[in-house]
């Protein structure tokens, strides 16, 4: 029978993953009387695994958190579960609702068909994905990849054909230091820990046009950071889309002598031409992408030659599937990938798998410092290992199947969802709305 042949092939593939073999063998038995597979045009070519449940759960580390984690858990008729992250800062409840809105796409589906299901979520939604839908698709997509890896007995980076560097994934912490003394201390601890790169923010908030004193202060402060951190450590500067293209053009040009690794989001991301105005008048490398959804959202930036580095966020861009595609498109244009990551540990770990599998990967962000934060301790409690902490300047890769961790819902009981909280609201001296 054709079906038997297919199973034979699958079992053969499975033998590659030693650890998962025992766990997965049951799933590929031909008879699954307990969980009948619904009739499907894919029944002769798909797997027997079916998604039987999907949960979106909000996790607030503190009641005031503006970015409760939104985790997605997929359950299957085989007992395996997959985890993903759909955290959307400031819009937690909307992201959870949107995950649930995809229930009809996902419940009863074959998790092996991740590419097919991604297309169905994106295309059949009719309205193209913005950040809410992008985050929901991201969470579901990561959980599907986690399941796929577990079913096939391989870590996701191997499913993606990696790793390019067996030592792990190069990363950077945020430089939390104001004074020259603090920066000098930071350099010492970075060197001791093998950390090769930092990111810092540009000081201040910016109006449409800017005053001499403010521009001058920002440039001097960043020059001081370069001087204190020394020439060996790479420095990236996050503008966080605070300036207009006009003001950013001035700043980016004056920062040229610092030879920054990149300037991130020099102006707001909706207008690609505006960002092009900045990049074509300076040699400072330009990075952007954390607010973009799907490879469609990055196409114009790439083809217009606007950016040097792309930074999609695996929790918003559309998960592993979309992040990998952006990477492939960027590679053809000589553009490097430095994915954004500033949410929970699931998206963080998922992004490492894609990082390890992209030829044009540069460096991975984590919103932490050389000294661990409170979150790092909580993540370790949940996962049993120090997720998103670097060893010798790199995030280690796990050999475990899927995304590489086991997690129980019970872990989150101490951190119940405390509702959506608005993100920062910043205003200028005259009371008008400021980008932050």
């Amino acid at each position: 029978m054709r079906r038997r042949d297919l199973f034979g092939g699958m079992a053969g593939a499975l033998a590659l993953g030693r650890r998962a073999h025992a766990a997965c063998a049951c799933m590929l038995e031909p008879a699954q009387a307990a969980a009948p597979v619904p009739a499907s045009p894919f029944q002769d070519v798909g797997s027997k695994v079916r998604i039987t449940g999907m949960k979106a759960m909000g996790v607030s580390l503190t009641p005031q958190s503006d970015r409760p984690y939104v985790f997605v858990k997929l359950e299957t008729n085989q007992g395996l579960v997959g985890w993903g992250e759909a955290t959307l800062e400031g819009k937690a409840a909307a992201a959870m609702a949107c995950v649930n809105d995809f229930g009809q796409h996902i419940i009863g589906a074959d998790p092996m068909q991740v590419e097919h299901l991604w297309q169905s979520m994106y295309v059949h939604s009719f309205y193209r994905a913005g950040p809410v839908m992008g985050s929901a698709i991201s969470g579901i997509d990561q959980a599907l990849w986690d399941l796929r890896g577990k079913i096939l007995g391989m870590p996701v980076y191997k499913l993606l054909g990696g790793p390019f560097d067996a030592r792990g994934v190069r990363g950077y912490y945020h430089a939390v230091a104001g004074s020259r003394e603090q920066l000098l201390k930071l350099r010492d601890s970075a060197v001791a820990q093998g950390v090769s790169c930092f990111k810092t923010g540009i000081p201040g908030y910016y109006e449409w046009l800017e005053r001499h004193a403010k521009i001058d202060r920002a440039v001097r402060q960043l020059a001081m950071a370069r001087e204190a951190l020394g020439p060996e450590i790479d420095i990236a500067v996050d503008f966080h889309a605070k300036p207009s293209a006009t003001v950013a053009s001035i700043l980016v040009k004056e920062l040229e002598p610092l030879n920054l690794l990149f300037v991130e989001e020099p102006c707001p991301p909706e207008n690609v031409k505006a960002m092009a105005r900045i990049s074509r008048r300076s040699t400072t490398p330009i990075a952007t992408g954390e607010r973009l959804v799907a490879s469609y959202g990055c196409r114009e930036l790439i083809e217009m030659g606007v950016v040097d580095i792309l930074q999609p966020d695996i929790n918003h861009v559309g998960g592993i599937t979309a992040l990998w595609k952006v990477g492939a498109m960027a590679d053809a244009a000589g553009i490097s990938m430095a994915p954004h990551s500033c949410e929970g540990p699931i998206g963080g770990l998922a992004t490492l798998h894609v990082d390890a599998s992209m030829p044009n990967f540069l460096v991975q962000e984590v919103c932490s410092g050389v000294a661990p934060r409170a979150e790092d301790k909580i993540w370790q409690e949940w996962l049993g290992f120090p997720a998103m902490r670097m060893v010798n300047g790199r995030f280690p890769l796990s050999d475990k199947p899927g995304l590489g961790f086991d997690l129980s819902e019970d872990a989150f009981k101490k951190y119940p969802f405390a509702g959506t909280r608005a993100m920062a609201r910043v205003f200028h001296e005259d009371g008008s709305v400021a980008e932050w």
Binding site: E207, W208, L209, E210, R211, H212, A213, I215, D216, S244, A245, T246, S249, I250, K253, E254, C267, P268, E270, N271, K273, A274, A276, R277, R280, R281, S282, H428, E429, D430, G431, S432, V433
Partner: protein, 382 residues
């Protein structure tokens, strides 16, 4: 038969009522009079025309434009007479060809709408988007020394940002001497004013694009707020060379009277701040221009070289825009001119403190226009 006629008339009346709902709901706001008051400042000789619009109910609103002829006033009144003041956008189209009166009528109609609603114009327009408005003082003088004096007077008056005339170009194309004179003028002013003074260089449309680009380049690290009217608005291809070659922000628009004019400059990446004149365009038209600029992350900084009524209108505009940056306010160089402006619209409207103008707070434009003072200063184009 008679019954049918009565029925038809009834339906016709109902149709007419539904076709003019604003007039039906707000009896009394129909426009009945339009009166110009041309005035001239005694020392500077700056002239402008204040316009009064009166409604059937007796409400009055004031606006301002550079000037209006008697035939333009008559033509405008024919276009707007009997229409409700609330239809200020409808009437903007009708007045598009009538000199610059449309700007004055727009301010006056919004003044009336605000007074009828007992709300400042910026509340009628969805604001306030800010609680004070950054102010820009144009300096007057031919030499660096005179400009320093002018700046010090403006600093005493509360200003921290200044529009500085570029040294007059001695010939069609300039060389090193002129370029150095530009830099020296600005360095002199910053040294005299301190770190917290900021400057806009006014090219006044007198330079060729190549010289404008040279000046913009040597001023990149000076951090001008922007370089205003660096060259005449000749072909876009020539104009955009300035901002392709360097990062000094450039502003254009004191003569532009259409959103399309700004859209072309924005599309070509040739402009960093739009400078529509408040007294050429009025409030509503600049709101439309600013809406275009918003998607390019470009702000509006309306040009203003007129009188105090337009200043009030500009401040309401500033408080109704998200992308407002700074308002130019003519700074009288003499006590006589200052007193005349204060007599017309009150002294509070052009009061600046720590670099910001306070917003008017009363209904409409928030000013009381003194018609006796208008008569006393009569002059200028009628």
């Amino acid at each position: 038969m008679l019954r049918n006629v009565a029925l038809r008339r009834g339906r016709l009346a109902a149709l007419q009522a539904s076709a003019a709902p604003a007039a039906a709901r707000e009896p009394g706001l129909e426009i009945s009079e339009l009166t110009p008051f041309p005035v001239r400042e005694p020392v500077s000789g700056r002239s402008y025309t204040i316009v009064r619009v009166r409604t059937r109910s007796g409400l009055t609103g004031y606006g301002e434009c550079p000037g209006a002829t008697a035939s333009e006033v008559a033509q405008a009144l024919r276009q707007i007479s009997g229409m409700p003041a609330t239809s200020y956008e409808v009437l903007a189209g009708r007045l598009a060809g009538v000199g610059t009166l449309g700007a004055a009528v727009n301010m006056a109609l919004l003044d009336i709408v605000g007074k009828a609603a007992k709300a400042p114009v910026y509340q009628v327009l969805g604001g306030p988007t800010r609680h004070k408005a950054r102010a820009l003082a144009p300096l007057a003088g031919d030499t660096d020394a005179v400009l320093v004096d002018s700046m010090k007077r403006a600093m005493t008056a509360g200003y921290r940002a200044f529009l500085v005339p570029a040294p007059a170009p001695p010939s069609r194309n300039q060389g090193q001497a002129w370029a150095l004179a530009v830099r020296k003028r600005l360095d002199t002013l910053r040294e005299a004013g301190g770190e917290n003074t900021d400057f806009v260089l006014d090219g006044n449309g007198r330079l060729v694009p190549g010289d404008a680009a040279t000046a913009a380049a040597i001023l990149e690290k000076f951090h001008l707020l922007w370089f205003d009217e660096p060259c005449p608005l000749v072909s876009l291809g020539a104009v955009k060379k300035i901002s392709e070659e360097n990062v000094t922000p450039v502003g254009f628009g004191r003569h532009i009277r259409s959103g399309a004019g700004f859209q072309d400059l924005l599309r070509e990446d040739a402009i960093d701040v739009i400078r529509p004149s408040i007294s050429l365009n009025g409030i509503s038209a600049i709101r439309r221009m600013a809406a275009i600029a918003e998607t390019y992350y470009v702000a509006a900084a309306p040009y203003h070289d007129g009188g105090p009524v337009a200043t009030a209108a500009a401040l309401h505009l500033a408080a109704s825009l998200p992308n407002f940056f700074i308002q130019q306010i003519p700074l009288p160089e003499t006590e006589e001119d200052r007193r005349m402006r204060a007599d017309i619209a009150g002294s509070s409207v052009e009061t600046v403190k720590d670099g910001f103008a306070a917003l008017p707070t009363g209904p409409g434009l928030g000013i009381t226009v003194n018609e006796k003072a208008l008569e006393k200063s009569r002059g200028g184009a009628a």
